[in-house]
Symmetry: C2
Subunit: 401 residues, 2 copies
């Protein structure tokens, strides 16, 4: 049982002592630095621990230091936040969360997006290839993934400009260029790599926790009409590269012990490099809100592939890792209609508009729409820990140039 | 006419005064820094110009400074290298190329690979989808591209470990894991972005030279058997992400004025954002050697899409650019069989093995094989400028873990 903190932590806070997620914040008038969320506060780590690793605008230096260091700092923080003797000295390092600006917490090296939800992949297959097998032949043999654009990861709260691009409207011959008319969300979970590896080596499926530092939420904004026209044979490109929103708090793996769960039963034998001895399924409960209205509750427990399997696959060919590498799960969708993590699934590619409680309907996103994804996970005992949120508002496409 | 240099430049050197490509080198016992190749020498720019921008292990700081600065430094270098009065002071900044180690010249931000050769795309289409239209419907409407792994760009000379991975051999049901048996090359040309752009803006097709600093050679090693099993529907992933080799010298756009040429006649009308007023086709003559034997002469003039169109497409959706962003053309193949830039095309997917002059045959690469790609371009008058080379040797796959 975690002792009490001298920092007041409101009941039901997403950020109890059992969480302690890392982010980068800018206090009013001060330079960005690393902090940890506690209740309604942020602790300035450089100041509280007297450690320059944290007096930087990204987590990358800390990420590179590796697991034993991550564990030591977490233990030090728990001591500091529970020992009343530390209060006088540490209190000046506390900022109210409402008073600081949150920034992208890490400098992304490479970004990979997976496609690890069987329900999502099957829904997409049923819509795009009706009458055929919904899953492609390799789907249950390997976690399908592709590289995305690391330079367009943005922190939660950043407005999303509706992308322009080429599409070919159905039934017409010639493509046209204009703002996307099928702008969608993808509710995903992201994994931040800490420890790098040399080229020519692989990370075993059981070595996941030595390399991945923590977990956050992702909205992988997607322009379905651009995607349909561009993606054969080399995959999604401009349909995804205009923006990917990331939540500002990285929940350390060590805060997720109680959330670990076995993945779903495998219906195809796994290759040895994907055969995991430890359970790295995660019991994260996501919620997706559109203009404040709850539209989906995607359960991460339903994901076929675990993040440990994703990382083992990503490196089986000898690809190196760098601190700040980032990979996301792909859209989290469960078996039930209300558990689908994209509007394309929720509106069945526009055929079944959603009616929101305010009486409006949606197929895809309209200008001004705001999408917010949150998640919680079991903590120790009866507590739950939270991931905060990833939110973004759609603004109109710019002028064509 | 360029005046003579006080640095001796051998006849036929790829690096005459009209070239002055930038790289990063480490002198014996010294830290890496930026240099320019002149004949058989490398000029240490930090020392020669007294400018700390160049006392760094990458070109990125210089890249970020923008086009007018790139032009000023080029003019200063031409003055310095042709004015005999500068000789005494600058000579100590010269190193023999043979005495220094060349490093990756830039820190790659995002890496995008295009598919811009009609001949290459059509050859691949004929092999993989016999009896169908060789090009996908969008091919002549937009330059198809996808993101690759920036973290596994390696400098020329780096050994390439044969990747392991999942494949499903034809005619069998179950996939297996092992070393790739269809390891291939792709002879490409790469473009280094200097000036960044904010999210939500696009780079016009006529603004190419304000953003792209220079050009180099690329070998985009590819595991065709991994690719065949993984790539539908999200594109190539592990088949490409294990290594991409880059030549160490970045030829500035300003050295390529005489190489500019109109692209091939367009057989489909272009969308406005791809309609280029200036000719950014480039008359680069590539040569591919396998274990020293010339196996292909891919002509870059045959590329359907120009690098200016690639950049305009990459950003039409509002994706931002960062200094160090890198994009490659995709395999350069011409209309003739001897102009194909991949072994998959040269051996027609293994059906027509190549016989090398040493009597051996090849379909795909064997352990120990060394592949070297070189290129030249017209310079001012009768001179030609060279790109140096990108070379790499295949080593055996590591042990499975």
């Amino acid at each position: 049982m975690t002792p009490d903190s001298w920092v007041p932590i409101p009941d039901g806070s997403p950020f109890p002592l059992a969480n302690l997620p890392y982010g980068v914040f800018a206090p009013a008038g001060g330079p960005p630095r690393v902090g940890v969320a506690v209740g309604d506060h942020v602790l300035d780590l450089a100041r509280a621990l007297g450690d320059d690793t944290f007096a930087r605008p990204s987590l990358n230096a800390f990420l590179a230091q590796g697991r034993s260091r991550w564990q030591r700092v977490r233990a030090d923080l728990l001591d500091l936040l529970t020992d009343p003797a530390c209060r006088a000295e540490a209190a000046p390092a506390l900022h109210r969360r409402a008073d600081v600006r949150l920034l992208l917490p890490f400098e992304a090296a490479d970004y990979v997006d997976f496609y690890a939800s069987e329900h999502h992949a099957a829904n997409i297959g049923r819509m795009l290839r009706p009458g055929q097998e919904p899953l492609t032949p390799q789907w249950k043999h390997l976690p399908i993934g592709y590289h995305g654009r690391a330079g367009t990861l943005v922190v939660s709260g950043t407005d999303i400009t509706r992308p322009r691009g080429q599409t070919r409207p159905p039934g017409t011959g010639a493509p046209t260029v204009g703002p996307s008319r099928k702008l969608d969300i993808e509710a995903e979970v992201g994994f931040v790599v800490g420890t790098g590896t040399p080229l020519g080596t692989s990370v075993g499926v059981d070595d996941f926790a030595d390399h991945v530092f923590g977990v956050c939420l992702v909205n992988d904004w997607s322009a379905r009409d651009l995607q349909a026209w561009e993606y054969v044979p080399l995959g999604p490109f401009l349909a995804k590269s205009f923006a990917t929103s990331v939540s500002p708090w990285i929940v350390p793996l060590d805060a997720l012990s109680a959330a670990r769960t076995p993945p779903p039963t495998r219906t195809e034998p796994l290759q040895e490099y994907l055969r995991d001895g430890a359970d790295w399924g995660l019991d994260l409960s996501l919620e997706v809100r559109l203009n404040g209205h709850l539209v989906a509750r995607p359960p991460f427990t339903a994901m076929y592939w675990t993040p440990a399997q994703m990382l083992a696959h990503l490196t089986v060919n000898g690809a190196s890792l760098r601190p700040g590498d980032f990979y996301a799960s792909g859209t989290v969708s469960g078996p039930e209609p209300g558990q689908r993590g994209s509007l394309m699934e929720l509106s069945w590619n526009g055929a079944q508009p959603l009616t929101l409680p305010d009486g409006t309907t949606r197929t895809f996103l309209e200008d001004g729409d705001e999408v917010t994804i949150t998640a919680t996970a079991p903590g120790p005992g009866v507590t739950r820990i939270g991931f905060g949120e990833v939110t973004g508002r759609v603004t109109a496409a710019g002028e064509a140039r």
